[in-house]
């Protein structure tokens, strides 16, 4: 059985170890531990005046007092400079130079700002549209991408639902700012255009004329007649929407494409028209989903994305469950790898008609 160390000795040794590094300051700044009578318990002896001190240990039975002895302000300044140099050396030894730290701090602050900015522009709650189930997920990348989506009834067209999905290329504050600029622009263009292609073409022209187009925007613009299920889609360089037909699990790609926004002075976009029947599901997403990368460099990819949708649809997933299944799958896939791009997905399902309340003759003729 080992003999316990004499407690006094152990504490003294530890105090000595703790104050030892301060010896590097030299005689101008001495950090030591003394007892009540000024007897040195740990640290180097010094006859300089005490400039600061604080007791350690219980008030009734103090272990001692930490004292800082120094000459004057100049001496303290010199000692502080030694400390600063030592810390700088420590930081350099860690492979970081001070400017990089400063730059990183600035960038982190901007990123946080960008994320807040961007989050504030993405609707948190899908609008409540009778006969439709809408679900969405938006997740900002660490370095802020420029995804956004929007779903609203255009001005004076209450039975219509406009759904926009867009991705500003690039990342960082510039992408977030362009997104902040473009989102209301697209909204206004939709309010004033009967056709989604026209809305995007006008947005493009304004982006170009306003000289905001140092980055590009890929965008999907969908006009949905919420009563008939008629859907018109215009696509400016974005991943085309997918449709899962009721009772099937095959994925149908809405065949429409065109140049992205902000690159060309004028663009002419095609439109695709499809009808969503009851039970049909529309899936919009950004490349943050398919481009999500695992630590080993593999991309989530189109196939995995479609497999997840297929499997969830086979299991009878709701709109919300479809979104959640994709998000979960992307997270499992990327594990701890930080997201390089925003991940955005929107699912709209046309609900089957509500079963009619049947009136049975016997009940309505119940005895009074």
């Amino acid at each position: 059985m080992p003999t316990p160390e004499p407690p006094g000795l152990a504490i003294g040794d530890r105090l000595s170890a703790l104050v030892a590094p301060f010896a590097a300051f030299g005689p101008d700044l001495v950090v030591a531990v003394e007892d009540g009578d000024g007897t040195l318990l740990a640290g180097a002896p010094s006859d300089r005046p005490v400039v600061a001190g604080a007791p350690i240990g219980p008030a009734t039975a103090p272990l001692g007092r930490v004292v800082v002895r120094g000459t004057d302000a100049a001496g303290l300044q010199a000692a502080t400079e030694v400390l600063a140099a030592a810390l700088e050396a420590l930081v350099e030894a860690a492979g970081v130079d001070a400017r990089a730290v400063e730059e990183r701090t600035r960038i982190e602050a901007e990123l946080a700002l960008g994320r807040r900015l961007q989050r504030s522009f993405v609707p948190l709650v899908a609008p409540d549209v009778s006969g439709w189930a809408l679900a969405s997920h938006y997740e900002a990348a660490r370095e802020v991408g420029g995804d956004f989506f929007d779903a609203f009834a255009p001005r004076d067209r209450r039975r219509e639902l406009a759904i926009v999905m867009a991705d500003v290329t690039g990342k960082g504050i510039a992408a977030a700012l362009l997104m902040a600029f473009a989102r209301p622009l697209i909204h206004a263009a939709i309010d004033h255009a009967r056709r989604p292609a026209v809305a995007l073409e006008r947005t493009n022209r304004i982006l170009v004329e306003e000289r905001r187009a140092a980055l590009f925007i890929t965008a999907l613009c969908c006009y949905l007649d919420t009563r008939s299920g008629s859907l018109v889609v215009a696509n400016a360089g974005h991943e085309p929407p997918l449709i899962i037909r009721h009772g099937t699990t095959a994925l149908e790609e809405v065949p429409v494409g065109g140049p992205l926004l902000g690159a060309f002075p004028s663009i002419a976009l095609d439109e695709a028209r499809v009808t969503l029947d009851p039970g049909d599901t529309l899936v919009l997403y950004t490349d943050g989903v398919t481009d999500a990368r695992a630590a080993n460099g593999t991309r989530f990819g189109d196939d995995r994305f479609r497999d997840v949708l297929h499997d969830a649809a086979s299991a009878g997933a709701s709109a919300r469950e479809l979104v959640d299944a994709v998000v979960r799958s992307v997270r499992d896939f990327t594990a701890d790898e930080p997201a390089a791009d925003d991940v955005t997905i929107v699912v709209a399902r046309r609900l089957p008609p509500r079963p009619r309340v049947r009136r049975f003759g016997g009940r309505s003729a119940s005895p009074r």
């Binding site: 901007e110 960082g172 510039a174 905001r212 140092a214 065109g258 060309f264 490349d287």
Partner: protein, 137 residues
């Protein structure tokens, strides 16, 4: 995955630059930086060999587009710039004609699909091999 930028020919008016790996949001600024350096050294045309590029994200398109502007002597705004950037976003639209400052060589199918989907393919002349691209100057 990393992006390797190999400068196979430089010093003259035309540089041959090969991209290997993936060009995405995590590294597209590196390519812009390389373009700046080449331009400062006198390069006015880049033959961009994409044979080894397996993936092109939409952010990569910004880099390709920026290269054109850099070679024209227009300084594109730094995509990582902060609030100041919004003031310096300069007019950035090609006239729609095919430029020849940046020529593409042998893009893989996945890369070509992105260029086609986004309509940016129309900005570039695409060649089968380097010699064809160099002869097209």
């Amino acid at each position: 995955m990393a992006l390797d930028i190999t400068i196979d020919q430089a010093g003259g008016d035309t540089a041959v630059v090969a991209l290997t790996g993936e060009l995405d949001a995590s590294n597209f600024t590196t390519l812009i930086e390389a373009g700046r350096t080449l331009h400062a050294d006198g390069t006015r045309r880049i033959v961009l060999d994409l044979a080894g590029l397996s993936f092109l994200a939409s952010s990569g398109l910004v880099a390709l587009h920026s290269l054109i502007r850099i070679l024209r002597g227009e300084a594109p705004p730094d995509p990582e710039e902060g609030w100041g950037a919004i003031h310096s976003l300069e007019f950035d639209v090609s006239g729609g004609g095919v430029q020849n400052e940046v020529a593409l060589v042998a893009p893989q199918a996945a890369v070509e699909r992105v260029l086609e989907r986004t309509g940016l393919k129309r900005l570039f002349r695409v060649h089968e091999d380097r010699s064809a691209a160099l002869a097209d100057a």
